[in-house]
Structure formats: C-alpha cells, structure tokens
Amino acid sequence: MDLQASICGIKLKNPLVLASGVLGLNKNNLLIAQRGGAGALTIKSITLEKRSGHDTPNVAFFEAGVLNAFGYCNMGLSAALEEFADLSCFSVPIFGSCTASNARDFAKLVSAFDKLDFAAIELPVSCPHTPSYGLLAGQSNVEKVRAIIKACRKETKKPIFLKINAGLPNFVEIALAAEKAGADAITCSNTLGPGMVIDINTAKPVLSFKVGGVSGPAIRPMVVRAIYELYEHLKIPIIGLGGVSQGEHVIEMLMAGASAVGIATGILQRGPCVFRKCCEELSRWMKEHGYGSIEELIGFAHQ
C-alpha cells in the first residue's frame, strides 16, 4: 500500500511526523525516530538563547496520558545552527521548530532557520507551561499571532506551520488569522491544559513546575474535534496530533481533516517504531476497507 502524503508540497513517504519536543534535541535523537519509520521529523523547539528549563520532575503520569513541563530546555539558536547545518544524514524531510516571546524574536529565529535545509518551519505559539512563551506570553491573542506570522513571513519562503492549542475557545480565529497572514499549514495541537498531578503520599504536585501540558490519549477527542472544525474553515492543510499511537488513531485524524499526523507521547507507549507500527496498521486497514491512497481519507468524515 502506498502511504505517500504531502503537506505544502513537501512529499512524505508516509503521513506520520515526529512531533516537536520528543527525541528532537539533536541529530542523533532524530535518527532514532527516522529509524522508527517516521515520514518527517520535527526538531525540539529552539529559542534564541540556550535554556536549561525547569527542574526535574519534568514529566508526570496519570492513567490516560502524560503531563510535561520541560520549560523549553534547548541548546539555543547558535548551537542549533551548528547542529542542524548538515542534514544529509536524513532521508526524510526535517521540520525546524522555534519559539519566542514576541514577533521580533520569532522573526530572528526564522531568518536564521531559513538558511538551513529544513523543509518547513514550525512556530509553536501554544505551549501552556513555559513562562514568557506560548500561552504564558499571551499568544492565545489573535493579534499577537497575526503579528508573529507577518514578521516571520518576511524572513522565509519556506512553508510556515503555526502550531496552535486546541484547548483555546478561539482556536479557529487564531488559525484563520494565521492563514490570512501567510501561514502555510496549521499544526493542531500542542499539549492541552495545563494540568496538575498531585502525589498524595507527599501531598505535592509531581512536576517541579507544578503544572504541565497534557498529552496522550486523554486529549485525542478534543484534538479530533478541533481538526474537524479547522477543516471546515481553512484552506491551508492541517497537521493533526494529540494522543495518536495506533493506526486507527491516524485514520481518525485524517478523516477529521488532517493531511499529516504527528506523534509524541505515542513513542512512550510503543517505542520509536510506533511510526512503523502505525503505518502497518494503516495500510492493512486501508487494504481491507478498499482505500487506495491517504488522500482519499483526508476529511472523509465530512462527506
């Protein structure tokens, strides 16, 4: 079964994308996910300066998923420019990801990333748990997002993906504003919440930052609904992610309207080969149900 997909003209051997933040710290990390069968790889979001992030625990668990609060721990722009200068070891497209507190810094990052061989640049404005970034920088505001996209659009011809948060009441407006300002795709969704897990033995929040973004199975229905809504409103394509770990979750997201599907927490559930496993499940199901291509599935729940 041919699982070929495409997003903003970028050809993918399959629609599965390594989401930003998991196994994306450096090239060695990314190679693990490439070996696992991903159709594209997103790097961990880069900020202008190196950040050591929040203290451990950075992850907390509950029966239906994970909370994380790493606090954008990353190597910073200058180290990233070195690390990702040569992407020739990859056989799949690499998406850059960078984030900032304001439009100007976003533009600086995008301008620098423009020189690298990233196939696209993803801009998360939606992290729910890092002070001065994403939701904690007020980037749930439509005007702010518009300004960010406008500023970044000037710096690159590469496709720009805006990564939004499906938990916001105004996610459709944000996406529409981004589309109008020149974004090429919407990535939906970042982690939701934030949430908190309290350890009852010590009566303390588990995460050192107390709250963290919720990912995994818990968030899939909200993300599917958001993708379904976005598909009805947008012309640009959608990368769906949130709680995907099995072929049928991929199908659900495609049918809701996603053109490609990201996985983060699924790696915890099934290892880095979650990509290959999902592809196998996907192609078996498509064969059994008479679908010939990924394209036929996209948005099919709207018929």
Partner: protein, 255 residues
Amino acid sequence: MLTSRFERNRFVGAKIINVQSYGADIKIFEFECKLKAKPGQFIMLWLPGIGERPFSPTKTNPLELAVKKRGLFTKKMFELKVGDCVGIRGPYGKGFKYENVKHACLVAGGIGIAALVRLAETLSNNGAMVDFVYGVRKRDQLVFLERIEKVAELFVSTEDGSFGKKGTCIELLKRLLASKRYDCIYCCGPEPMMVQVLALCKHYNIKSQFSLERRMKCAVGICGHCALGSKLVCKDGPVFSGKTLASIREFMVHE
C-alpha cells in the same frame, strides 16, 4: 480499573526505614517499598521540591539504595532521616544479560558497586564462578563486602592503600586477565575507568557489559536527554555491550 503504560510510571510513596553511613560520602538507604527489578535496571527517586535522579537498587524487597554524595541532589538526600518519604518510579531500562555465563568478572569503581552487587548474587545463584574487582579511593567507601564475599572471590583496591591493594582496580583487573579466562566482564564505574576496561576486553577478546550514566529527565524514552549517540540510556541501556559501546563515537564525550 484502568492500568495503562502511563500508570506504571507513577511515583509510589517510599518511607525511609534505615540509613547507614560509610565515611562522609556514601549512605545506604532502606525504604518501606518493594519492587521487581533485574540487576542493572534502575529506578527514579523523587525528592519533592528538589528533583529526581536515577539509582540502582541494591536490594528490591525492601528497596535499598547506595548513594554517593556528589551534587545538590545527593546532598539533599544525605539530609533525609528515617521516617521521611520519597517517591519511587520504575524499574526502568534493560538489565544485565547473564545467561550461559560460567565465569564472570565484575569490575566496580566507586559507587558503581550499586549496579553490580545484585548481579554478583544472581550470577552465583545461577551457578557461575564470579571474580569481583572493586576499587575505591579509601577504605571507608567500601560497601557490601560481606555480601560480595559470600558469592564471589573479592579483589579490592584503594587509591590510598588503606585496604586491599594500593592503586586502581584497573591494575587488579589486568593481573587477573593475565592468568584467567572469563566469559564476560561486567563493569560499572566512572566513565574513564570504563573506557580502560573496554580497551582491556578488546585486547583479550572478552565479551563485556557496561552500565552507563547519563542525565535523565524522563526515563521513559521521550525526552532524548540521556542519548548516547543514537541510543537512549534509559530505554536501550543503561547496560550496553562492549561491542555496542565501541561503535558509539559519543562514548566518553558528555557534559
């Protein structure tokens, strides 16, 4: 109810029921808590308000940990008293392989002993002959000597000569290798020492396994912080074969 891949990673409460000090730098903690873990696997210990770190259980029922004071976290651990409660999650990682090993040599440097003491017992239980090389800086850092002597022939070195052979365990190991044949060498200690042991194993063409340390932020294979080349120490390790390590250019190169 729901038991999922996620739930297994929740902290369980573990109350300290015993603390023993060995010199200024090492403490052995016993917890009201039990778990199943193979030798070589590790747990994450959480000190609320401080952080969490990986440790190697030296006993599992009740859980026992041997901890060396190194940085901020272990300093805080040294302030813990009987009755205090911490969080434990795990076990994580792949343990040592010891099937079909008849003659083993274990090489522990310093607190590396923590990863090897249960392995010695398990190997011996499985009928293997075990030589145990154990090097520390000075006498008061030696732990588990009785347990080891029950199951293995023990060779100790101290850098100051206060006990056993004066010098490093590398010298002891060299001497043994000159006369003995082993099916496998198991090693845990400071990384420069492990690099030397790996070189010796290559030279004598002996199979080997090493338990490695990397900074761990998730222990479940998603954050990527524990990467050693494109292996994850938390999932693919912490135990790696000498063969694997020899192919990883990043071995010996970390923060």
